[in-house]
Subunit: 141 residues, 2 copies
DNA sequence: GGCGAATACTTAGACAGACTAAGTTAGTAT
DNA sequence: ATACTAACTTAGTCTGTCTAAGTATTCGCC
């Protein structure tokens, strides 16, 4: 429709957001880790990160991240290390097992989404493709 | 790019889904009810529903819905009633206060999303507008 | 070079939200 | 009438989130 009715679009988007959350939940249903754990592992893929960074990136408070990292550490998926330049800082990195787990869950998620997307028409898939960069910008202000 | 790379699209979508969840969280941050409570109230807007229906619609188990409705009932936002045709069934409906609260939170959410959307270009908004129906179809199979 | 403030993180305690298992009450079928 | 099924609640456990308070380390500055 390409209208200029920003508020009307906001209403539609508001309605769809819950649906997308349910979709996300389904992508990791039955997986050996939760959606949040998967998400944190993903942040570590590029190398070690500090606790503060992780908390900010995931929009949670530091204590929440402490708890999540504790559990991932107990599960052997991440390891804490010290920052040689600042003894207050703890860095977190993936273990080999954590990396393996991350990739396995990612493949499973992508397979699920691929199946879902393949039920759409090519035009619908193209529409989503075009909209993703715009959706990515939302909420970053 | 309107490619036919469904798997590649699935990967992009997988990456964006978490971002959209954070966006949803922000839409009800600071509100007097949680995202889930808002969502349940929304299901009751069209009239009374039974517990089983609500649980299915929100993709949770019955006991989870029982707890949520308990809290909403304690808060005076919904009321339980009996089904005259089947004494096992409990129906749930909005109270006047619940309806008022639902509308207030909805306005606040939509205002937030409108502000966010207004930071995009008209083309980006148009892209989201076109993609929403396709996103709505995802995961319904 | 030492003292107060700020920073990075953890611990503790609370509560929402989700699950499974088990219990209660009511309808259904034979 | 009895057994089965359906609808819901209760109880117990776990994750995810928060705030408040505690510990350890670094920084600023005199």
């Amino acid at each position: 429709m390409t209208t200029d009715d920003t508020r009307g679009l906001a209403e539609s988007l508001s309605r769809e957001l819950r649906h997308l959350v349910l979709l996300l939940r389904r992508t990791t249903a039955g997986q050996p880790i939760t959606t949040q754990q998967y998400s944190v592992l993903g942040s570590l893929e590029g190398g070690g990160r500090r606790m503060t960074e992780l908390a900010e990136e995931h929009a949670v408070q530091l204590p929440t991240m402490t708890v999540q990292i504790n559990r991932l550490e107990e599960a052997g998926l991440v390891a804490r290390a010290a920052d040689p330049a600042d003894a207050r800082v703890r860095t977190v990195e993936l273990t080999d097992e954590g990396r393996t787990r991350l990739y396995a869950v990612r493949q499973s998620r992508i397979a699920y989404l691929t199946r879902q997307l393949s039920t759409l028409t090519p035009e619908e898939r193209a529409a989503i493709d075009v909209a993703l960069p715009a959706l990515a910008k939302l909420g970053r202000s």
